[in-house]
Symmetry: C2
Subunit: 316 residues, 2 copies
């Protein structure tokens, strides 16, 4: 009964799940800028709060708990977007903690859905072509959250730390289990045992699960044998077992990768994108106040590959 | 992909369309009270404003214009409700003219959708089991609107009259054409040429179109021959041609109907309702500050008949 888009094509749907301050917005922003806001819609599903801040104060759970969110409406809206239908999305004002006037969201050719719980239910997961989980070390994420919530949301460091502690059981119960449902798990972190100069970008470890078809990169950067020492080259692809025992490819991009080495990989992925004339590659890898990171850029390029690949398959 | 309700049954959907202050809320309220809020959900689709009052001030149209409303989202939400799905409904605050926090609406067994434009599009109309258009004489509606907007919304009579004038072209273009799509057209008005004592309720003229199956009432109140003078009995059913030439049954219930005569008709409809044990008939016919009207009560009973009849057909 619901109408299809004029073109008859569904948007390509990408989920970026992760805990608070895990880097979802940074990853998303570069993709939107590279593809263009006229082709890509970004939606944050943390707006589906059932209670405002004042109401939440009296509740036995935090904003992370599924019962604290209109999960059924989130599922419904994800389905509608995946069918190319517009939604009237609720809006939560992080500055005031109030639920305010909803906004019309019209899905473009690509839709990124980022937030705390986009992969929580089976129905929600079924809406996505590509699923990503951002998995930084907790220590790092805590530091990011303290900095952001103090700078942008007016909290004190003590308040943020208390909130992180209060949220931990629900992070463990509801946020981190979503890692299991990701096609790609992204971990930005410093490399253990190295003392790189200040300003060296974080390294990226990308787990590439066989749930979607990844671009063939082994020929470009060379496979590292399982068991062979890692950390010897700045970039390598390695077959290993995930924490749950499932086999995965792990693509390591070290922060100290040389521009030349990273350029080879970027070029290799770029060539596999096909007809990328309308893309703005300069937007990739940007973070913070105009800093750049090759590991971030390569991560975004890989996601771009998957977005365009999914789009091509639908057109075929 | 969208889930069906647990019971697998769709709600029965009733539309009550009509211009501002046509009496939609009065008609709706008695039905909800009679059936019970646990079985019936009432939704006002005038909340789907695209602009708030301040934004509207700069626009070349009034709130009545389809372009001033999220008609596509209204259609989507009507479809979802008709499938038994919850919606996060936008909310327009008539007191402040602002769009505020949306509210979760869970469809019960019966859903009444009232407002300015519920029958504007084909897709919206397709969501309803029963459609009603409220069609009071314009002079009367203007008086009602002046009284309500001054009493409850803080306007002056001059402001309301100016607004009515400004809205007239859009009333003619978008509101009144919906009359064509109604299964039942309801007109409350005084009977021409009579001078009934003050406090006499308005009469009701109900056009019963053959688009749905009406209860057989001819045997109860007797048919009046087409062309035979009307107004001779306080209540009669008459075959005539609508303004567009289509044949309709017209049920006239005069405001001066005797309690005994109206009781016969009420009883006749009531008996056709089947298993009405859980109903609260005292809620029917109430308007204003505790006044009662037999023509209103009979109108509501007829709608109740159609609601329960549609529910029975679905269960069968």
């Amino acid at each position: 009964m619901l109408r299809a888009r004029g073109s008859g094509r569904r948007p390509v749907m990408l989920a970026i799940a992760g805990d608070s301050a895990a880097g979802k917005t940074t990853l998303t922003r570069g993709l939107v800028q590279c593809l263009g806001a006229d082709r890509m819609t970004a939606v944050c599903v943390d707006d589906y709060h059932r209670y405002d801040r004042r109401e939440r104060a009296g509740k036995p759970f935090t904003a992370l708990h599924p019962d604290c969110n209109h999960i059924d409406i989130m599922e419904q809206h994800l389905q509608l977007l995946s069918m190319g239908e517009p939604i009237l999305k609720p809006v939560y004002d992080h500055a005031t903690g109030e639920l305010v006037r909803p906004e019309l969201v019209q899905p473009r050719d690509f839709v990124i859905v980022e937030g705390l719980l986009p992969l929580h239910t089976r129905l929600a997961r079924a809406c996505f072509d590509i699923t990503v989980y951002l998995d930084p070390p907790e220590r790092l994420r805590h530091a990011w959250k303290v900095r952001r919530d103090c700078d942008k949301r007016g909290y004190t460091p003590e308040q943020v730390r208390a909130e992180l502690e209060r949220r931990e059981p629900e992070s463990a119960a509801y946020i981190r289990p979503q890692r299991r449902w990701a096609d790609i798990v992204v971990r930005f972190a410093p490399v253990a045992g190295r003392s790189d100069p200040p300003g060296t970008p974080l390294s990226a470890e990308l787990l590439l699960r066989p749930t979607i078809d990844h671009p063939e990169l082994g020929t470009v950067i060379g496979d590292a044998e399982p068991g062979a020492g890692s950390g010897e080259t700045a970039m390598h692809l390695r077959l290993h077992r995930d924490t749950d025992g499932r086999p995965v490819d792990a693509l390591h991009v070290h922060g100290y990768v040389s521009p030349e080495e990273s350029q080879v990989v970027k070029k290799a992925i770029w060539e596999r994108l096909g007809a990328p004339t309308a893309l703005a590659p300069d937007a990739l890898g940007l973070y913070g106040d105009g800093e750049t990171s090759d590991p971030l850029a390569i991560t975004q390029l890989l996601l771009l590959y998957h977005l365009l690949d999914a789009d091509r398959r639908q057109a075929a």
